[in-house]
């Protein structure tokens, strides 16, 4: 692999703006590399080779004309295939959206382009972003670049895998209960879920609207800060985005944690069966302390109900959001004599097993006679989970812990839906409470698979979270600075 592919996006953009490298050369190099890694990894559903070269040339021409295309000048970026890129397919890795051509750019894509980014392709996911391993894709299997017999995590598995395999500098994912952070942890890259409302979801195919957030996968914390800076802020097309100021996240990155308090739920580490994960995360907590942070014990007594709450709330919202896929306006239609039969056959054939399971669960939870017992109660426990965080953040500025109970598991290993749901035990509570949260690579297990730390901060404390992660990252360079052999 060429050295140019192993730098981060911040440095790549600097070189392009300083004319030390051309956007076209960088993009060509990356596309050639992707063609070598893709047969084994399968991160991309589609690479837009001609389009990417064309975008890169436009960046080079602008620079040649003395213009500055922006802080992501010439940076090749991949987009999860549930986010619209105008003129390209959006499949959600489902047969249901067969042939759907996006009529517009998602707001995040529009903002990345305006910052000089080159959109190179669309990445694989669990169908409609429902899953924790990427195995629920109806179109393709994606493999973990660190060991291709293991899963990349999900649902944004393709986006995590391509950044790890160096076949994208940055990628976008979406996170509803951990779909950025879990694959980030499994693939050894940074996965950042911004605070709820920080980034517009316009152009993201909705899964569970009270939880969905778009965020980046990156190789450095400063790249996460840079891409968030570019994407965040008010968008008139998403009413959950407030007109709050967007801080200059990259400029606010620090290298010390003096005066900061970091909360740790001791139980998570003490009781974790996988000692390699517990030890790597525990050692990163020690690094936080060495950086000047005061480590405080916190409790999140209702977090253990997170998965139960999540599967009611997310499935209920999904059953409503996915009702739009009815064979009338987009994608697949199975012909039938009357409208009801057409709906049933289209949806019965178009959706895969996990999507159907969640639609069924959500419909049941919202149906007459079960609403109070399921959806009503889940919303109340959700409040208690959010209150636990509020109480914990009285005592600390951020919370550190494991991102997942284990490293990437083998493909096909988890066939029972409930055991798959339990992968997200540590990531779900932050989604329910609208926090910002990140997975940061902190080490490797003996098999050479990455271990991720989960960092969480209060809503809209993105700058503080990124700054702390940046300081920690500096102390971890020696232990995580590896590239998968496949790259």
């Amino acid at each position: 692999m060429d050295e140019l592919l192993n730098i981060d996006a911040t440095e790549a953009a600097r070189r392009v703006r300083a004319r030390e490298a051309s956007a076209e050369a960088l993009t060509s190099l990356l596309l050639e590399h992707a063609q070598k890694t893709e047969p084994a990894v399968g991160a991309y559903l589609r690479l837009d080779i001609d389009g990417a070269i064309e975008q890169a040339r436009a960046i080079d021409n602008a620079i040649g004309d003395g213009k500055d295309p922006g802080p992501l000048s010439g940076v090749p970026i991949a987009i999860k295939d549930n986010i619209h890129v105008k003129g390209q397919l959006t499949t959600c890795a489902s047969k249901m959206l067969d042939g759907f051509n996006a009529p517009y750019d998602a707001t995040v894509v529009e903002r990345l382009r305006a910052a000089g980014a080159v959109i190179v392709g669309k990445t694989n996911l669990d169908e409609f972003a429902m899953g924790s391993s990427c195995e629920n894709s109806a179109l393709q299997q994606t493999h973990n670049p660190w060991d291709v017999t293991h899963v990349p995590g999900g649902s944004s598995g393709g986006s995590a895998a391509c950044v790890a395999a160096r076949s994208a500098f940055i990628s976008l994912g979406s996170d509803t209960g951990g779909s950025i952070r879990l694959p980030g942890s499994f693939c050894g890259v940074i996965g950042y879920k911004p605070s709820y409302g920080r980034v517009s979801r316009y152009g993201l195919v909705a899964f569970a609207s009270s939880l969905d957030q778009i965020g980046p996968f990156t190789r450095s914390v400063r790249d996460a800060a840079l891409s968030l800076r570019v994407m965040a802020g008010r968008d008139v097309m998403d009413s959950t985005t407030p007109a709050r100021e967007v801080p200059d996240y990259p400029a606010l990155l620090g290298d010390s944690l003096k005066g900061k308090r970091v909360g740790v739920v001791r139980r998570y580490l003490d009781e974790m069966p996988n000692r390699e994960v517990a030890d790597a995360v525990g050692s990163a907590v020690t690094n936080l302390e060495k950086l000047g942070a005061e480590i405080v014990d916190v409790e999140l007594p209702h977090a253990e109900y997170g998965i139960a709450v999540y599967y009611v709330v997310a499935s209920a919202e999904a059953s409503s959001n996915l009702s739009r896929f009815d064979g009338v306006r987009y994608g697949l239609r199975k012909e039938a004599d009357n409208l009801l039969e057409m709906y049933k056959q289209t949806r019965g054939e178009g959706f895969g097993p996990e999507v159907k399971r969640r639609i069924m669960l959500g419909t049941y939870a919202l149906s007459a006679g079960h609403y109070d017992e399921f959806y009503g109660r889940a919303g109340k426990v959700r409040t208690l989970i959010a209150r636990d965080f509020e109480a914990a953040f009285e005592k600390c500025d951020l919370i550190a812990g494991p991102c997942a109970p284990f490293t990437a598991f083998k493909s096909g290993e988890k066939s029972d839906p409930l055991s798959m749901y339990l992968c997200d035990v540590y990531t779900i509570p932050a989604s329910l409470a609208g926090l910002c949260a990140m997975s940061l690579p902190v080490g490797f297990d003996k098999a050479g698979l990455p271990i991720g730390m989960h960092l969480q901060a209060p809503p809209y404390a993105d700058a503080e979270l990124l700054s702390a992660a940046h300081a920690l990252e500096l102390t971890l360079k020696a232990s995580v600075d590896r590239v998968p052999a496949i790259a």
Partner: protein, 101 residues
């Protein structure tokens, strides 16, 4: 959850399921709802429900005419359309609607 309930919910959700799927979902959904039933042990007396994590109120835009998707581009992905309308099979048995100008 028994198979009869699964069939009822599948109709509500407009999903055609095969006999195999009905049997499988009855098992899966029983296990999942049993897991979810742990929520009944939480004391939620007097606790309001959270339906949305935003602290800020909805952010409305002003109601002004602005550029948006054209009708043709909005219907371009439809399996069947005519004169910029979505076309569907008969909703009521025995009727056939022809578009009129």
């Amino acid at each position: 959850m028994d198979e009869q309930t699964v069939e009822h919910v599948a109709l509500l959700a407009r999903l055609k399921l095969s006999p195999d799927e009905i049997a499988r979902f009855a098992g899966d959904l029983s296990a999942i709802t049993k897991y979810i039933a742990q929520l009944s042990e939480v004391d939620v007396e007097g606790v309001p429900a959270t339906v949305h994590p935003v602290s800020d109120r909805n952010q409305w835009r002003s109601d002004e005419v602005a550029a948006s998707l054209t009708r043709d581009s909005a219907t371009a992905n439809a399996p069947e359309s005519e004169q910029s309308f979505f076309k569907v099979p008969p909703a009521i048995e025995g009727t056939e609607h022809e578009p009129t100008n």
